[in-house]
Amino acid sequence: MPLLICLAFLLAHAGLYFAVLRDSAALASEKGIFLYHFISAVLVTGGFGVWAVVYGGADAWTWLACVVMLHGLYSLSFLELWALADDSYSLAILEIIGRGGAAAAPALMQRLEEIGMSKQASRLDALRTIGLVREAGDGSLALTPAGRTAVVLGRALLFLVDARKYG
């Protein structure tokens, strides 16, 4: 029963987005759509957490874990697809090639390089905003301690999957 209630909630959550909120300016940014899912996850965890405390049986906590994981699977899949539809460089390349005609022209590479440069600039701004990169006194950019930690963790992941090329 808790799982069915959670499924109904997730259906309503997705339905609300696709029927009403997808054109909303508040959900047009990465931060906005992330908050839409984060608040929902907090509500589901809080609601079922209270139910588990009141109900009290061992099964209640197991059901709580089920609904939290189900929400995690739903939100991760939704956000991945949203981000790919919005911002994927590889998909941009596929779509540009798919438009045909100029696929062989050097202009295609020029356009892709422009996109690459724009992407670098926007990502650099984002890294500064979230505190992974800081501006040093001489105007150069350097990593913060959080940025260095992110690099170590990222390299550990790449080592696990044996990826030698990245970026």
């Binding site: 089920c66 460089y89 090639i97 005609g101 202009a107 690459g116 990169v133 040093a136």
Partner: protein, 169 residues
């Protein structure tokens, strides 16, 4: 308990995958993880069903394992293809002025790597007339056309470009 079983199954999948991608050089990291992870997942469900019977614990173990696997795939694909991570690794070597970043992190290299990935994934093919989409690539573009419409999110790097033969000029 079931949480320990899920965690052990996940860590085993990560280790088996790490060995497999080194032995099977041509296997894609995502496809290999899905294959090994699915096998391990079926084993986990079977083992939990024997130990716990048909109880919520089996469902909880399965969902926890599935979530950990999806999160792992998300993280390694994110890091492996992330422009942000590429910039972070360049800055990890030494601080750079914004104007120097483009020199150290060239867009041509980013593009070349993506073309290589797309060709290896059988999504594009190089011919005398230039690059073209394979049937698989066309399928992916169609799927994402649907997703662009569903989310009302045109790819921000392509939107604004006009269609037709001279669109990239």
């Amino acid at each position: 308990m079931w949480l320990t079983l899920s965690a052990v199954a996940f860590m085993t999948s990560v280790v088996v995958h790490a060995v497999a991608v080194r032995l099977l050089k041509r296997a894609g990291a995502v496809a290999a993880f899905v294959a090994f992870g699915a096998g391990r997942g079926v084993a986990l469900i079977g083992y939990c069903a024997v130990v716990y019977g048909l109880t919520p614990a089996v469902l909880a173990a399965t969902l926890t394992y599935a979530f950990l696997c999806e999160l792992y795939i998300f993280l390694f694909t994110l890091v492996g293809n992330s422009v942000s991570f590429g910039l972070l690794t360049k800055l990890a070597r030494h601080p750079l002025k914004p104007a120097d970043i483009a020199r150290f992190y060239r867009a041509e290299a980013m593009i070349a790597r993506r073309f290589e990935q797309l060709e290896r994934g059988n999504l594009i093919t190089a011919g005398p007339a230039g690059f073209g989409l394979t049937a698989r690539g066309e399928g992916i573009v169609r799927v994402f056309s649907l997703l662009h419409a569903m989310f009302r999110r045109p790819n921000q790097w392509v939107s604004g470009m006009s269609c037709g033969g001279d669109d990239a000029s």
